[in-house]
Structure formats: C-alpha cells, structure tokens
C-alpha cells in the first residue's frame, strides 16, 4: 500500500498566512520514531495532513494511535525537526475532561486571554447547541452534551489542527450519529485540519477525506475516501469498509449478493 507521504487532498480553504509548517500542510511528520524502553511505538513514521483536511486514523489497541495523537498535541515531547505542527491546536479527548468545579462556559473559556472571553465561549457553546447550558455544572451534562462542550472548548481557540481522540466512543449510537453531523458542520465552518483517532471503521469512512491504518507503529494502509457526503452505507462505502477491515486483520466474506453487486458501481475511485 501507499506510504502516506504524497497524496491528493481536497483543495483546502485559503489558509491564513502563517509560518508553520508550510502554506498547504498543517502537519508534517518525517521519519519519526518514538521508543518506550525496548519497544518502538512509532517507527520511521511519515505523515502529512493538509490544511483543512479531515484525516481518520484507525488501528488496533497498541498500534500507536494514541502516541501519535499525543505527539501531535504536544503532550509528549518531540523534536521540532521531525514533527511540525501549527501552534494553534486543540484536543477533544474520549472523556470530555471538563473541570467539574468550573461552570460550562468557564470550561470553554479556560485559558482564553483577551477581552470578552465569556462572549467567545458563549458563541462557541451556541454553535454546538449548548446555548441553554452555559451556567450549569459539568456534572449535570449528559455524555453527549459534555462532548459538545469539549468540542466548543476546542473550537473557541480557532485551531488550525483539531485532534479528536476517540471522542464519540463513550456516547450512545444515536448521539454518535448527531455528533458526526455536528463535527462535519463545524469542520466546514472553521476548516481546521482534523485528525480523528477512532476504533470505528464506519465512523472513519463517514467523516474523513482520508483514512489511515496504523499498524505496529507504521502507517500500513491509506484510503482516500472520495465519496460525496453525506455518506450512506452504499456498496462503494462497503467496499472501502471491507478493505479497511482486512487491513485491520478482519476478513469479511463478500455480501450475500456476491461481488456482482459491486461491479455495478464504480469502485475505482478509491485507492
């Protein structure tokens, strides 16, 4: 499969003139390794994410997904030579990680400097549909609401890189679908580059421009998802899904109708 170095991505919305790392890419990782003790969690990894590009990262537990995300988030130290990220970046964690002793809007305004932090926090919360929950304590929010607040807290910083660490793994299926729509609309409105770490192959295909499979610290596969959004589970979707699952070590038999059904649809649009 293709190493994730050169790839086509959708023409990015005009990026603000910013120095790092280059005009058209938000993330550049070159030949990056991360070793804990004897084991290399990431090995000679190359990755580039375009400005405004939505990338999903799949991988089994222990494949190095979280390490990669933490490196990009600046939570783990990395040398600036091999890892270049924009300075404005924000993370949404699997658990919302709201500070329980701060009201919701104060959580969103956390660390904001400058005037009208409250106004900006309010606007962000309204955007995620929590305009009516500004002044409540986080412990009174439902799981979905807490993740919305976490999204607002990330977006209020207008990040050029938005890192999502399995953000919908802990919410119920219906809420997850709503969150997918929300994330897509926020992504369109703010156009950050997104790296979504997930276990969920369907989620990855539904949301991303490009899906990467991480295996043993390397990018083992890449699929550019060229399907129009919103993406239903049509045959082209299923074909991508099957290929990705095979990459993850799960060989599914072809659907009951046989591959013949697939032939009727162009599947060549994906790598």
């Amino acid at each position: 499969m293709v190493q994730a170095s050169i790839h086509p991505f959708n023409p990015a919305p005009a990026a603000e003139p910013e120095s790092s790392p280059t005009r058209q890419s938000a993330v550049q990782i070159r030949n990056f390794s991360r070793v804990f003790g004897e084991t290399a969690v990431l090995r000679d990894l190359d990755l580039e994410i375009g400005a405004g590009e939505f990338v999903a990262l799949l991988g089994r537990s222990g494949s190095g997904k979280t390490t990669l995300l933490r490196t990009l988030a600046g939570l783990d130290q990395a040398d600036a030579e091999s890892v270049r990220t924009p300075s404005s970046r924000a993370v949404v964690f699997q658990d919302a990680r709201l500070l329980p002793w701060k009201r919701v809007w104060r959580n969103v305004a956390l660390g904001l400097s400058g005037a009208d932090a409250r106004g900006r926090a309010e606007a962000a919360l309204k955007e995620v549909g929590l305009g009516h929950r500004l002044d409540v304590w986080p412990s009174t929010l439902s799981g979905g609401e807490a993740q919305r607040a976490a999204l607002a807290r990330a977006l209020v910083r207008e990040p050029r890189l938005l890192l999502l660490d399995e953000p919908f793994a802990a919410v119920d299926a219906l809420t997850r679908l709503r969150m997918h729509d929300l994330v897509l609309s926020l992504w369109r409105a703010h156009a950050p580059a997104v790296l979504l770490v997930t276990h969920d192959v369907d989620e990855a295909i539904t949301l991303a421009d490009r899906v990467l499979v991480l295996d043993s610290g390397r990018i083992a596969a890449e699929e550019v998802i060229d399907l129009p959004r919103p993406r239903d589970g049509g045959p082209a979707f299923q074909a991508v899904r099957r290929r990705l699952l095979r990459r993850l070590g799960l060989d599914l038999p072809p659907p009951a109708g046989g591959e013949g059904e697939l032939v009727a649809y162009p599947t060549g649009e994906v790598l």
Binding site: A73, G74, L75, A90, V91, F93, D95, R97, L99, P100, W101, K102, L110, G111, W137, P138, S139, T140, R153, R157
Partner: protein, 269 residues
C-alpha cells in the same frame, strides 16, 4: 415474631401520638428528667453531679456576670490563633510537597515522622521552651492542626486527576494558572476535610492546653470549679465546649456547601 410484625408492632407503639420528628427527643428528655429526679431525692449528690436545673441557674449567673462570655472569648481566641497558624503552616508545607518532587523529598519525610508523635506529648517540652503563658497553648493547638491540614491537602493535590491536568495543559495553562484553575480547586474537597479534622483537633488540644496554669479561659473556669467542687460550673463549661465544637462543624459544612457547590451531591440538594 417476623420482621414485618416487629415493624408493625413498633408502629403501633406511639399511642401518645408524638410527631415523628420529636420522637428522637424523647429519650434524652427522659434521661434529663431522671437526672433531675435523682438529684432532688438525693441519689445523685451535688458534689458528684449538679442537677440540670442548678446547671441552668449557673449558666444564667455566669452569663449575666460576664464571666462566661469573657472566658469563652479567651478560649476562642486561643483556638483561632492556633488554628490560623496550623492551617497556614500545614497548607504551605502541603503545597510545597504536593507540587514538586524536590519539595516532597524535603518536606514529607520529616512531617511524616513528626505526625506519629501525639502532639499533646510535647506539652512538657513546650512549657520548657515557651514558659506557661499564652505561647505554649497556641503552639500546641497550631501543632495539632498542622498535620491534618498537611496530610489531607497533600493527598488532595497528589490526587487531582492527571487527565484533567493534561487537558488543561493542552489548552495552554501553565504554572500559576494551572495551579489556581486546576490543582487547588481539585484539592479543595480534601482540604476542607482536613479543616474539619483540624477543628476537632484544635478543640481537643485547647482543653488540655488550658490546664497549663491558665488565668483565663474555659480551662481556667473548669480548674477553679474543680478546686471548689462546683460540679454545676464544670458541667456548664463542658456544655460550652460541646456547643463551640458543633458551631465550628456547622461553619465548615456551610463552607463546603458554598465552595463545593459543583459536587453532584450538593447539586441535587
């Protein structure tokens, strides 16, 4: 008799029709009545224990003469002074040990060794050092309150969810704002628990410390009363000790309700 029958039986018991909330007052009042009766008929002599009515009279006398309020204020002042010093020192040590590895290595071992000493055992040493004035009394109270504050706040700081700290760091919080917004609020519940223990400790120590040659305060009143076998005055002072302890506890609980309003248990109520 089955459990259900037993419950039924106890439900039929209050033939007197006492409202539920007052039922808990019945046995204390009965005990008081027995105590009063025992004193009146001479089963309980006055030099052993004064009658409740005598105690009430004594309270009135001691309040109206100003003797009780003045000495109470003296004791309260000692407790507060010692508590203020203890809370300050304990908090400073806990923050130093909680926030840095170097601080932990410097502070924690000696404090852990010292806390195994019952603070009251230091009374003779403190008298040698500080004489028999106010200083040893306040120093004893300060010592007794330092440790509960230190232990709880230190544990609280170390127990703050590292995931929250990491999240706050990812949003650019560093140094003092990280401490003020995340670490200290996260440790506040533990600190308030420590404050409760410290208050209880300050009271206990006050009682003993005031036995050191005091010329004012509740301990002085008790010592005087003992010398003249005035059991009524001793009981009055005991009641005041109890009331002060209850008040202190109520203050901390009110503080918790305000400061920990974000906790689910307080949100519901």
């Amino acid at each position: 008799m089955s459990l259900a029958e037993a419950i039924n039986f106890s439900n039929r018991l209050p033939a007197l029709k006492i409202p539920g909330r007052l039922q808990r007052w019945v046995s204390p009042l009965v005990l008081l009545a027995v105590w009063e009766l025992g004193s009146r008929v001479g089963v309980i002599p006055e030099h052993v224990l004064a009658a409740p009515t005598a105690v009430l009279q004594t309270i009135w006398q001691m309040v109206s003469s100003g003797e009780l309020p003045i000495n109470m204020l003296v004791s309260l002042g000692r407790a507060m002074a010692g508590l203020a010093i203890g809370v300050s020192v304990g908090s400073a040590l806990a923050v130093a040990a909680g926030l840095s590895r170097a601080g932990e290595n410097a502070v924690d071992p000696p404090v852990q060794m010292l806390r195994t000493l019952p603070s009251l055992a230091l009374t003779p040493l403190f008298i040698v050092w500080f004489g028999i004035g106010e200083t040893p009394k306040i120093a004893l109270i300060a010592l007794a309150t330092t440790f509960p504050i230190y232990l709880n706040l230190y544990n609280g700081i170390r127990g703050v969810d590292p995931k929250l700290i990491e999240a706050a760091r990812s949003f650019g919080l560093r140094g003092s704002s990280l401490i003020a917004d995340v670490v200290l609020p996260g440790a506040l519940p533990s600190f308030l628990l420590g404050l409760r223990y410290a208050l209880a400790g300050s009271w206990l120590t006050l009682v003993v410390a005031e036995q050191i040659n005091a010329s004012a305060g509740l301990g002085y009143l008790i010592n005087n009363a003992r010398d003249f076998s005035r059991t009524d005055e001793i009981v009055v002072c005991l009641i005041v000790y109890a009331l002060l302890g209850l008040t202190a506890d109520a203050i901390v609980r009110a503080l918790e309700r305000r400061a920990l309003a974000w906790r689910p248990s307080f949100i519901k109520s």
